[in-house]
Amino acid sequence: MTNTDTNILRAEKVSMRFGGFTALNDVSVTFPEGQLTAIIGPNGAGKSTFFNVISGAFPPSQGRIFFRGKEITGVPQHRFARLGIAKSFQITNVFPQLTALENVRFAIQCMSQRFNVWTPRGRFREMEEQAAALLQMVELDKHHHRLAMNLAHGEQRALEIALALACNPSLLLLDEPTAGMSPEETTAMMDLIIRLAAQRTVILVEHKMKLVMGISNRLIVLHHGELLAEGTPDDVRANDEVRRVYLGQGNH
């Protein structure tokens, strides 16, 4: 496979079955480089399963995933960060008893010093500076020395994004980054995502369609584990199928 197009990620006929239940059925999607793509769909549409498959949490039952034209199906999770693919989890996932700065510094350290049992950590001054820069980017620069567990929910999510950014990813995968957030926190997170998307490809799973309509370049709509529609927000909004299964429910 050669990387002839501008797609950074491509899912080819991906299916996922858990026992007798088919969570994903023959989904083929491409993600163009540099765009912010949102994956949406009603509850149980297979969004999270699709997210987990493309982010390497588990391999699909069938089908293949390509990153920059190179197959990454079944590649162990820990290699993704080094490939330049980072993710944030649906449920906040940080190192609770480390400070914010230690959290990020660890993630930076993971890029180069995984099995160094000898050099004192304090020698890596540049890592601390990079960590401070990342904390500033996610607006946590006032909280360097607070334990992650003592940060507010929105701050923890921001910290998690900083952890994901530590590997300087070209592809950032976010699973419902605004889950459980207050309206103010949601607005701040959306602003952050827009800023991040200016520099890299972002794929975002979101339940609330309204949130992503305004900021996405592209939308992918899943329904019952199948690809229902894809296109610009306007295309998707105009799609009768989508209106029927999703927008028609009235509560979104």
């Binding site: 162990p76 999770q77 820990h78 290699r79 993704f80 960060a81 080094r82 980072a86 993710k87 989890f89 996932n93 940080v94 190192f95 609770p96 008893q97 480390l98 400070t99 700065l101 230690e102 510094r105 660890f106 993630a107 350290q109 993971c110 890029m111 010093q113 995984r114 099995f115 160094n116 049992v117 000898w118 050099t119 004192p120 950590r121 304090g122 890596f124 601390e128 334990l147 952890l163 994901a164 530590a166 590997c167």
Partner: protein
């Protein structure tokens, strides 16, 4: 930020004791060694002090996996025992001098940890504890059966190292205080190495695995390989403790491989404070002194130590040192 351990030892702020605690944490190697240097003069007899050194080192090594990485192994007797037997066997059967014999003991424990760790790190939680327990019992029966080499049930006798034959120094281990400082020299190097590893980037990997394995994986950590490496390093320290014990006792009892010995490491770590630098030595000290004192009163000393252990687990789960740190830093 120059400190390695993010736990209580770090989270101290502006109180009376806090400064002292922070100072000790910053100079943790010096603090441990300073105490151990004068320690034999605080105890009724030196043999007890040597025991505390050796078991403190054993618990320290165990604590790397248990306290810092947060994984419960129930098979560390295998590494203590392998270190003991390898050192004992090369001294008794092959007449190897004490220093290479100790190194051989450490390497043997490391190989044992590499094999057991390769199998055990595929599992998690209670399964990890069970696999390590089962494999360490395999080592026990293997050594038990190799009677010609290991002495079987009677243990290995005749690990007689008395004269150290150091150039320019005429030291004999028959003098209890000399023996103490002989063991202390090894423990000092080990404690320094241990602190160095904790302060390294790999030390941060241990903490991250304890805090959140999934996140560590997403950050790019090969969880199985990192756990394996920690397991091997931990095994090396426990092997050194075992090797020193062989020379200290002049015999290697088969019990050093028994799962009871694994239980000792767990108990001492919990009693002293898991995941603290001083905890293992505090735990070994408490356990062995209590054993020593209560044995004078009743042969059922285990009953009392057991009760105390339960008391600590219920009311002071941070252990003795962990609780002190917590109070000081509150």
């Amino acid at each position: 930020m120059t400190l390695a351990n993010p736990q209580e030892e770090l989270n101290v702020s502006g109180r009376r004791l806090a400064g002292l605690v922070a100072l000790m944490a910053r100079h943790r190697v010096a603090a441990v060694l300073g105490f151990l240097l004068v320690f034999p003069f605080l105890l009724p007899y030196e043999a007890l002090a040597v025991n505390i050194l050796i078991y403190g080192l054993f618990a320290l090594g165990f604590n790397m996996v248990f306290g810092y990485m947060g994984v419960l192994s129930f098979g560390h007797a295998a590494f203590f025992g392998l270190g003991s037997y390898a050192t004992g066997i090369v001294i008794v059967h092959y007449g190897v001098p004490w220093l290479p014999a100790i190194l051989i003991g450490v390497v043997a424990a490391g190989i044992g940890a590499a094999v057991i760790g390769a199998l055990a790190t595929r599992t998690r939680g209670i399964y990890f504890a069970m696999v390590t327990l089962a494999l360490s019992q395999c080592v026990y029966y293997l050594v038990y059966q190799l009677e010609d080499l290991s002495g079987g049930e009677n243990g290995l006798r005749g690990v007689d190292v008395y004269d150290l034959n150091l150039p320019g120094l005429n030291l004999t281990l028959l003098d209890p205080l000399t023996k103490y400082y002989f063991v202390f020299a090894f423990v000092a190097v080990a404690v320094w190495l241990f602190s160095r590893i904790l302060a390294s980037p790999f030390g941060a990997v241990l903490e991250a695995l304890r805090e959140n394995e999934n996140r560590a994986r997403a950050c790019g950590i090969d969880v199985a390989r990192s756990k394996w490496l920690a397991f091997v390093i931990s095994g090396l320290f426990c092997g050194l403790a075992g090797a020193l014990n062989a020379i200290h006792l002049t015999i290697v009892p088969i019990e050093s491989l028994h799962y009871h010995t694994s239980g000792l490491a767990v108990m001492m770590s919990l009693l002293g404070g898991m995941g603290t630098f001083f905890g293992p030595f505090v735990g070994a000290l408490t356990f062995l002194v209590l054993e020593d004192v209560i044995t004078l009163v009743t042969i059922h000393w285990q009953l009392f130590v057991g009760a105390l252990f339960v008391f600590f687990i219920l009311f002071f789960p941070r252990g003795i040192w962990g609780t002190l740190l917590h109070w000081a830093s509150r």
